[in-house]
Structure formats: C-alpha cells, structure tokens
C-alpha cells in the first residue's frame, strides 16, 4: 500500500529535500508539490525522486467565481501541472469544480464544511473528483477546535455519502508533515471506518492521480 500526501508546499529546494527525506522515512510513497511556478515544482519533484518517492507537480486555484476560476484552471492545465486542484470559496465554485474534467481535487477548508452535502458528494462521484482536507490548520497555535470540527464534519460526511476524500498535510516545512499512521488514526478517531481511512490515504489519492494524469 502506497501512502500519499498530495499537498506539500515547500518554499525552497532545501526544504523540499528535507521534506522528501522525512516523508520517505515516515512511509509516504506518493507526494505532490505545490508551487505557483512550474519550474520550481519540477525541481521539488526531482528532489523527491532522489529519495525514492513518486512525485507530482500541483497547483491549487482559489475560486470565488467559477467563470474566473475556469479560465485559471484552463491556463494552469495548459502549463503542464500534473494535478490541478481547486479551493472553492463559494458553493457554486465547489459544485462546478467537482464536475470539471480538468480538476482532480476539490480542497475544502474547515470553514466550508457545510458544503460537503449529499449533492456535493454526488457531483464529486459524477466527476471522479476527490475531496481533500488539509491538516495544516490543526497545527496553528491556539485552540484547534474550530478547525478540528470543520475537518471532522467534511470527512464524516464524505464517508457517509460515499464520496472519495483524501487528507493532505499542506506542509511548508518538514515540521508540518503528518505520518500516514497518525493521519489514519486521526480519521479513525473521527469515526471513519478503518477501511475508508486507509482508502483515503491510498486508493482515493490514486483515483485523483488517475484523473489528473488522464487529462494528458
């Protein structure tokens, strides 16, 4: 079973090296590097490959209005990023991104937990898109309850409505990485069945990658 973390956002090549080294030691096998510049992302991917990881480039687009976001998605896809993800800020963007053939991942921030409903799950299934939650908000100083609640609601609803979902660390440094065992345990402590928790770290990531790579 290859564990995945599809969002790593290092700020330098040295940090990418350090992240890749620790990710490999933790048992991660597939990673995706987020960067606005494709060259940088490719350099990170090369650094990860040196540590025996399967790595991809990724770009996440923040979408308020889908008309604007669709143009950006087309532009990013044309530039050659392996994975195009959308972080919707409105319900309309969340719904339309889920069905867009170029979008592999819809990243839902904890504040958008209420958008993960039955129809969103249906659209995610229809489009073969994977919902994603980021664990980075949990590491912010202060009370983690709001973020924890949002993540818990998204994950539980995705599991209940049968939508594919994945969990990524969003790590900017190696100190923000999450080991697959801890991520899986966190999902299980939310009440997600163990099999689904495992799928979210393995097969559902693979599903997102298949969709992203099938785009050509």
């Amino acid at each position: 079973m290859k564990a995945c973390d599809l969002q790593l956002s290092p700020r330098s090549i040295e940090e990418a090296e350090a992240i890749a080294e620790l990710a490999a030691a933790m048992g991660l096998r597939v990673v995706a590097f987020e960067s606005e510049e494709l060259e940088k992302a490719r350099a990170y991917v090369e650094a990860a490959k040196r540590h025996g990881l399967e790595a991809y480039t990724r770009r996440t687009i923040e979408a308020r209005s889908w008309v604007e976001a669709a143009k950006e998605v087309a532009r990013v896809a044309a530039r050659g990023f392996d994975i195009v993800a959308v972080r919707p800020r409105t319900a309309e963007a969340a719904r339309l991104a889920a069905r867009d053939p170029r979008v592999a991942i819809v990243q839902l921030p904890p504040g958008m937990a209420r958008y993960m409903d039955r129809s969103q799950a249906l659209m995610l299934r229809e489009g073969g898109t994977v919902a994603e939650v980021r664990l980075l908000p949990l590491l912010r100083p202060g009370d983690p309850r709001t973020a924890l609640r949002g993540i818990m609601v998204i994950v539980r609803r995705a599991a209940a409505y049968g939508a594919a979902f994945t969990v990524s660390s969003g790590a900017r440094t190696r100190w923000e990485l999450w080991s697959p065992a801890s991520t899986r345990a966190l999902l299980e402590s939310f009440g997600v069945p163990p099999q689904l928790a495992l799928l979210s770290l393995t097969s559902y990531c693979r599903q997102a990658l298949h969709k992203a790579l099938a785009r050509g």
Binding site: L22, A25, W175, E176, S179, T183, A185, L186, E188, S189
Partner: protein, 198 residues
C-alpha cells in the same frame, strides 16, 4: 319372704350394683379426661417450644440470607471488576523522534509533549482513560515505546501527529508500529536479547 319383697330387694341390689358400676366408670372417665388434659397441656407446651425454636431459626435464616446476599453482591462486583480488568487491554506504540538539531530529547519531555498533545486533541478525560505512559526509551536511537489502552490507541496515535515541539526544540514523533506486547515492541526497536529481558 314374700315375692314382692324379694323383687324389691333384688331391684335395690341391682340398682346399687349399677350405681357402683356407674360411679366406677365415672371415676375412670374422670381419670382419662385428667390424663388427656395433662397430655394436651404437655403438647401445647411442646408446640410453644417448637414455635419459639422456629422463630429463632427464622431469625437466624434472615441473618444468613442477608449475609449471602452481601456475599453475592460483592462476588458480582468482583466478577464485573475482573471483566473490566480483562477488557483493559494495552497497546504499545513504537516511535522515533526527529529533532531540529539531531539531539536526543529527554524522556520526560517526550512524555509531557505527548500528554499535552493528547489533551489538546481529546481533552483531559482522554488523557485519564488512555493511561498513556512512556514505558521504554532508547536515548541512543531517540526511539521509545508508549503504552496506551487499546480503546484510545487511535487518539494517542493521532495526538503523536500533533506533537511539533519537544522541550523548546522543533521535533516530530513518527509512529512505527503498534503491538500488543512490550516484548514485540522491543523487538521492533531492534533491541538485543539481553536488552529484551530488562
């Protein structure tokens, strides 16, 4: 003697005889009644005695019943406690620590960091019920074994993911494997046979 006189004499004799017989019968009957009364009195005394004994026995039985009920109660409580004790299974989480400067953190600091993370994630009740304890630590490898109850294993593992600082240094705890016995956990740590026996 004239026949009339003879008849009268015989009659009076017979009457006297009958009277004697009747008197004797009466005396016998009186004696019988007296003996029956005596017997009845004796029987009544016996019944009273038995009644008293029965009362005492019933009192003793009540005390005994209470004692048995108490014993059963405590036996049931013991049995329930035993069942709970048997249910209280443990899990051993093998982990290693990665620190900023490659130094080895102190075991107390590691335990404190894990407890703080667990409290932050799941609250004090989880800390109490999980009974988290750092049971083994190898400073040379910066690796160790954490014991937790099997019910809260996932919470402890998730809390390990939340640890980002040990002492005042940036650090990360990487769980390697969860086992059911400390012996297996020590084997996972790669300890020698001699160290395993410690």
């Amino acid at each position: 003697m004239a026949p009339t006189e003879l008849v009268l004499a015989t009659g009076s004799m017979l009457a006297a005889f009958v009277a004697v017989v009747l008197a004797w019968k009466l005396r016998v009957l009186e004696a019988r009644v007296a003996s029956l009364e005596e017997g009845l009195r004796r029987q009544t005394g016996l019944v009273e005695e038995i009644r008293g004994e029965l009362k005492a026995t019933s009192r003793r039985l009540t005390v005994l019943e209470k004692a048995v009920a108490k014993a059963l109660e405590s036996y049931e409580a013991e049995e329930m406690l035993e069942r709970l004790r048997r249910k209280r299974r443990r899990r051993y989480i093998v982990f290693y620590v990665v620190t900023e400067d490659g130094s080895t953190p102190k075991p107390e600091d590691v335990e404190k960091a894990v407890l703080r993370a667990l409290e932050r994630l799941a609250g004090q009740l989880a800390v109490a019920s999980s009974r988290v304890q750092l049971v083994y630590y190898v400073p040379e490898k910066a690796a160790g074994i954490i014991r937790a109850s099997h019910e809260t294993k996932y919470l402890v593992l998730a809390a390990l993911g939340l640890v980002r600082k040990i002492g005042d240094k940036k650090a990360i705890i990487v769980p390697v494997r969860t086992t059911g016995t400390i012996k297996t956990a020590k084997r996972v740590l790669g300890l020698t046979l001699r160290e395993l026996k410690k």
